[in-house]
């Protein structure tokens, strides 16, 4: 959970317009996004972003369209230049890089997966997957071998010599993922990678990503507008709104302690039983005694849904929570039921529909 910081973003601002530097002063002086647009004709893209992304974590950046999430992810490999602020990768300031170093960073440290796949239509699937190696000057014979390996891994064995237009959307995005994996870079940037796919395929792809991640331990930055997707994938969740960060934390924590009406509104509709885990609501043991009336053991990382299924719906039970077999806490079913009700559930729901 607490790996070293891989990517750090510090007080990042991005303003679109003809004179961003002047507009930056206004923003730092307290002018709001709306006023900036109306009075100065500049669009505030990102405002004072501070995020630390840890190694081997999936950091999900979530927000509605226009919240600046795609702009933010493009700052990491400098497809977009910031107006002010720092972006550090492995402790090095990326913004100070010259053209050559930046190219090396893009080639070897980061690979990106795109919402619209962005495959090259005139190349075969295997050639597409090998693009990331090809740009480094690897010979075709060698990069195709790697490409084949990763295509096999994402479940596209046998399609190597097809062209992208012969594949379905889900398969095309698998090629996109294989392409990013072939580069063997430690960081993967995924820009709404699954948003263009239909729901069933999307679930498949999420599972694929989690399965790959179990093995590969990449540092993944994942952009999405879908809260369910965010909660499913995230080790750490960053919620953006209108270019600023509303809240960032472990998803469980955000769900239980939303610090903003915007987020409360957001989280009121989701299936909490499936997302929340035992560890978030248990009472830690802290050296105390195990209760006598415990009905059994549950794992610390079980979802509440699993637990409810086990209890058969009986709310009077309590369970011993274990981590790798060792008891670490107690779970009262009454607490579990309370956790299922969002703080503002009914009003928010009523307002929406």
């Amino acid at each position: 959970m607490t790996g070293t910081v891989k990517i750090a973003i510090r007080s990042l601002y991005k303003i679109f317009g003809h004179d961003p530097q002047a507009a930056l002063k206004h923003v730092q002086g307290g002018v709001s996004k709306t006023d900036l647009l109306e009075q100065y004709g500049h669009v505030l893209g990102l405002q004072d972003i501070n995020v630390e992304m840890r190694e081997s974590d999936i950091t999900v950046i979530m927000g509605l369209s226009g919240s600046g999430k795609s702009t933010l992810i493009r700052h990491l490999n400098r497809l977009i230049e910031p107006t002010s602020g720092q972006v550090e990768v492995d402790g090095e300031d990326v913004l100070a890089y010259g053209e050559q170093r930046l190219r090396t960073l893009r080639r070897e440290s980061m690979s990106m997966v795109f919402q619209k796949f962005a495959l090259l239509p005139h190349r075969t699937v295997a050639e597409n997957a090998g693009t990331t190696l090809q740009v480094r000057g690897v010979r075709q014979r060698d990069y195709l071998k790697d490409a084949w390996k990763w295509l096999e891994r994402v479940g596209l064995g046998g399609y190597e010599n097809h062209y992208p237009h012969q594949l379905s959307g889900g398969m095309q995005q698998r090629v996109g993922i294989a392409r990013a994996l072939t580069s063997n870079s430690p960081i993967m940037l995924m820009d709404e990678a699954f948003s263009a796919l239909d729901p069933l395929i999307r679930t498949d792809m999420q599972d694929l990503l989690l399965e790959l991640q179990k093995e590969l331990h990449k540092t993944i930055v994942f952009i999405t507008h879908d809260l369910d997707e965010a909660l499913k994938l995230a080790d750490r969740l960053v919620i953006l709104k209108d270019g600023y960060i509303v809240q960032q934390d472990e998803p469980q924590h955000i769900l239980l302690n939303p610090n903003d009406p915007y987020i409360e509104d957001f989280v009121s509709d989701i299936n909490r039983a499936r997302v929340l885990r035992v560890r978030s609501i248990m009472t830690p043991l802290n050296g105390g005694d195990l209760p006598d009336d415990a009905q059994g053991e549950v794992d610390i990382n079980d979802t509440l849904e699993d637990t409810i299924a086990r209890s058969g719906g009986d709310t009077s039970h309590s369970y011993v929570v274990t981590r790798e077999g060792t008891p670490v806490g107690v779970l009262e079913m009454t607490n579990l039921v309370k956790a299922l009700v969002p703080r503002v559930a009914s009003e928010a729901g009523a307002r929406k529909y």
Binding site: R106, M112, A118, L120, H122, Q134, V135
Partner: protein, 343 residues
């Protein structure tokens, strides 16, 4: 006396005008005719536009229109030698290439040329039907003894279209990469495209010897290069921005991006431009027969000049056949490219 006397009198320029009067200014025929009826009042509906000639009548200091024409001519003749000194050696290779191509196409016997053409068609289109069609068309032309002329026309088109692509594609690429370059080039392209084809020939005749093949070569290239430039520019600008962004994100250099992404993705458009370029070279090669371009155009010209109706019509038919052949082959090649690149 003259209509606009009042203008110069009113402005107090009469003395200045009269000071320039020499009395023996060149007279136009219209002037001489007008002199016959001098003194007659001009009816109000014939009130002339204040043109150079009309003003000249009132004030001799104003030049006549034909002086302006003369000045343009003198100006061109004055820079002609310099232009020729620069352009002549630069364009000389074009003459050599055209001469060589004509020589090869004429010298190759028909039983060598036919298989070569068939092979070219096959490589470009992979279509057996099209080979049959092209062979039939050329065989028909040969059957009515127009084979030699057709080959000359074909030779010129091959050379000119090839050079158009050779220069046009890089110009198009340069345009697509710089908005300034595009802004500067587009007016030139517009001018080249709207100038009537005959007008190209006028300055060229003065610059180069009429016996030089490069004379018509340049005219054809200038006329036909426009579409390939435009469509290359358009094609590259239309390449999906997401794909370009992806290429950037993988750390491609500009060169890798150009040859690995932009040109391949723009190829359907570029090929459409090549098709247009070839068709326009064919149109121009006929007109260029006025300045000694050999080929079917010569026969058309003979038909017009000597009123030999049959000769003109048959050679016209030959040109249509050639046009259909060239169009079908390039379109089929384009379709093949498109089929492989469907997104």
């Amino acid at each position: 006396m003259a209509t606009y006397d009042f203008l110069f009198d009113g402005l107090g320029l009469r003395d200045w005008c009269d000071a320039g009067k020499t009395g023996d200014a060149p007279q136009s025929m219209a002037n001489l005719l007008a002199k016959g009826g001098a003194g007659k009042d001009t009816p109000w509906w014939e009130f002339p536009f204040p043109s150079l000639d009309a003003l000249n009548e009132a004030c001799a200091r104003i030049v006549q229109s034909r002086d302006m024409t003369k000045a343009v001519e003198d100006g061109f003749l004055a820079i002609k030698d310099v232009l020729r000194f620069v352009l002549d050696p630069m364009t000389q290779p074009l003459s050599w290439i055209l001469d060589f191509a004509l020589l090869v196409f004429e010298a190759a016997p028909w039983w060598v040329m036919f298989p070569i053409l068939m092979a070219v068609v096959y490589l470009a289109t992979k279509s057996v039907r099209l080979i049959g069609f092209v062979t039939a068309c050329i065989a028909f032309l040969a059957f009515i003894d127009h084979y030699g002329f057709a080959m000359q026309t074909l030779a010129i088109i091959f050379v000119c279209a090839f050079l158009c692509v050779l220069f046009g594609v890089p110009i198009g690429i340069a345009m697509s990469r710089s908005d300034r370059m595009q802004r500067m080039t587009i007016p030139v392209l517009d001018m080249l495209q709207t100038l009537p084809p005959f007008v190209y020939l006028i300055p060229l005749i003065f610059l180069f010897s009429v016996t030089e093949p490069k004379l018509y070569g340049i005219a054809i290239i200038l006329y036909a290069i426009v579409p390939v430039i435009r469509l290359t520019d358009l094609g590259i600008r239309l390449v999906d921005r997401d794909v370009i962004e992806a290429a950037d994100s993988f750390g491609m250099t500009d060169r890798q991006k150009l040859f690995g992404v932009q040109i391949p993705l723009a190829l359907p458009n570029i090929m459409a431009g090549v098709n247009q370029t070839i068709m326009m070279s064919l149109a121009m090669v006929v007109i260029a027969s006025l300045v000694s371009a050999p080929g079917l155009g010569v026969l058309v010209l003979r038909g017009i000049r000597n009123l030999e109706l049959g000769v003109g019509l048959i050679s016209g038919l030959g040109i249509v056949l050639l046009a259909i052949v060239l169009d079908r082959v390039t379109k089929a090649a384009l379709d093949r490219v498109n089929a492989a690149r469907k997104v």
